[in-house]
Amino acid sequence: MSRQKLLAVAAAALLMGGCASVDPWVKPYERDRLADPIMSFERDPVIASHRRHVFDVREAARGAAGGSGGGCGCN
């Protein structure tokens, strides 16, 4: 395993190791507004996907346009 991979594993392990000790400053029961569908990064996937396609085919820019998942920490 290359040095970069080792560093990446070590960094991820350190990050994960800290999980138990971090006290969330927004408690799970305080996330009702964040859990509201209107706060979603992608409320309707089929609409978002078509809209991305409309722009993608007419623009040179691509990538990092959402749709890659990721949650809101609402649960």
Partner: protein, 396 residues
């Protein structure tokens, strides 16, 4: 940048990419091994969406249905499938001016599986897009992990694409494009009302990257119009990086403010800025209203020219308006109505949505050669497009 420097630049970027790819693989491995049993993520909702989409602009009309279904199997697996058709009629300015053929129909199918284990969500996707002269197959894998008591979600993904390029006027023509994409994302709960996301994506293409029909024009004193046409030639590699920042702010009276920004740069010397702002307002429980504005600006590719000085004046040459410098403004309104908010039989709830978007494109270098003028003196091209989406959704 001269073409040789472009290729050299792409080589250096490829080396960086290999290191980056190794790091992404290692982090995915570490996340999978160290999955803690913290707050749980959830699988996406079981739902069926039926969309009718309509696009009209620049002489073209594209419309068709799109269907997306998602269903949970057991408590840790969710499967999805989608089907989209684009029926194309009319002709864009490229077709009008150089009589190049165009595809009349595109179909896209995709399938996906998500697997949930504790606070880790693993996803696998396959997509096939098929046109008469272009086929694209894409495989993707992604992992997302909640950490810090669900305050932070780290996600990453890798996508591999295999495209086949053909010519509808020459069945013997065939060329390939290989594509790799690496994605990293971080979503962070900031306050009770604010959530933000940063996303990064690198995409690397290698192969036949221009469409075989497209032409560039060059000054030709022997032609009656003062110019003639010859085929485009693109570099066979392209590497791009994009970074995006997004936020969602919950406002009183059940409203939300969305702000998005993306910066893009690639090895063809194109850079682009995308900025978007949106406002969503929930009304009377069942209605949701959306308004938004999106601004986009890009520079042109290093080898783009509206009018080359003579035939084969440089190794790489392109006159595709999508790689020229332009600005775009888009205005969007949408309404959503939940017509069945309570469970009936196996249906949990149902909604309909209608949205309209008007997009203005203003090209800075690409000229409208349909207008009679001295070569290079024609007005720059611009057009307006309308996009309509009508959606029916059921959750079950």
């Amino acid at each position: 940048m001269p073409p040789a420097a472009l290729v050299a630049g792409a080589g250096a970027t490829d080396m960086m990419l290999r290191s980056y790819k190794g790091a992404v693989v290692a982090i995915v491995l570490a996340l999978a091994l160290l999955t803690p049993t913290l707050s749980a993520q959830v699988l996406p909702d079981d739902r069926l969406d039926l969309l009718y989409h309509f696009y009209e602009g620049g002489g073209m009309t594209i419309q068709g249905p799109s269907l997306l279904a998602r269903k949970q199997i057991g408590s840790s697996v969710s499967v999805s499938a989608s089907y989209t058709v684009d029926s194309i009629s009319g002709a864009s300015i490229d077709v009008v001016t150089t009589a190049s053929p165009y595809t009349e129909k595109r179909t896209e199918i995709s399938a996906g599986v998500d697997y949930l284990r504790g606070s880790t969500l693993l996803g696998f996707t396959y997509t096939n897009s098929d046109e008469k002269d272009y086929t694209a197959n894409t495989f993707g894998v992604s992992v997302s992990q909640e950490i810090f008591g669900g305050m932070t979600t780290v996600s990453m993904g890798y996508v591999r694409g295999f495209d086949e390029v053909g010519r509808s006027d020459n069945p013997d023509f065939s060329a390939d494009v290989d594509r790799h994409a690496w994605r990293l994302g971080l979503t962070q709960v900031l306050t009770r009302n604010l959530i933000a996301e940063v996303a990064f994506e690198t995409i690397s293409d290698e192969g036949f990257l221009n469409l075989p029909y497209r032409q560039v024009r060059f000054l030709d004193p022997d032609s009656a119009t003062g110019f003639s046409w010859e085929p485009e030639v693109y570099p066979n590699t392209r590497t791009s990086n994009a970074i995006a920042l997004r936020s969602r702010l919950h406002l009183p009276f059940r409203a939300a403010l969305q702000t998005d920004y993306r910066y893009y740069a690639d090895s063809w010397d194109i850079d682009a800025h995308t900025a978007e702002i949106g406002y969503t307002h929930g009304v009377l429980d069942r209605w949701t209203l959306d308004v938004g504005y999106r601004y986009y600006r890009q520079s042109g590719a290093e080898f783009f020219s509206d009018l080359f000085p003579f035939r084969e004046s440089q190794n790489f040459r392109g006159r595709w308006k999508e790689i020229s410098a332009f600005d775009s403004h888009a205005f969007r309104v949408g309404v959503n109505y939940e017509f069945m908010a309570e469970r009936r039989g196996f249906l949990e709830r149902s909604a309909v949505g209608l949205s309209f978007e008007r997009i203005l494109y203003d090209y800075r270098d690409f000229r409208d050669v349909r207008i009679d003028a001295d070569p290079g003196e024609e007005p720059t091209y611009s057009f307006e497009a309308n996009v309509i989406q009508f959606m029916l959704s059921v959750w079950f």
